[in-house]
Symmetry: C2
Subunit: 93 residues, 2 copies
Amino acid sequence: MNRQYKARIYVTLRPSVLDPAGVAVESGIGQLGIANVKQVRIGKYIELMLTAADENQASEQLDRICDQLLANPVIENYQFDLDEVQVQLGVST
Amino acid sequence: MNRQYKARIYVTLRPSVLDPAGVAVESGIGQLGIANVKQVRIGKYIELMLTAADENQASEQLDRICDQLLANPVIENYQFDLDEVQVQLGVST
């Protein structure tokens, strides 16, 4: 009955929050001789597998996981994509 | 002449590389009372703006940036999406 989903979660700093790591990467890119890059912002990317009855339930659980564990809501935003994965049962057994 | 692109870069650990941070997050999710999550993998997500003559040139530059700066090719893979951004010139001036 349960469906399996692959979730891709993107946690990014809110636009008003300074990103010193992004500034450092931007300067590193400049030192590679590439001058046409700007606004580098660094975030986290999390992949996970999740089983749930339907997409709504999966989304609710992901919201909880992101709010309570993965993102700091004071300074970070998050987004996620959910893709249903076909579960292969009893294949080659 | 130059076009502006927004790049979204995902740097992930190669599947054969252990991810202790992912294991820790998986255990943290279990402690929230959510037991149906597995295979948590943590990576980096980078957004940047880039100007280039066309999408090919932008891709080449991103490959260089990822190979040399953002990803460690021994243990990490990367992917990126490129979206052209409409540059607004001379608006409300």
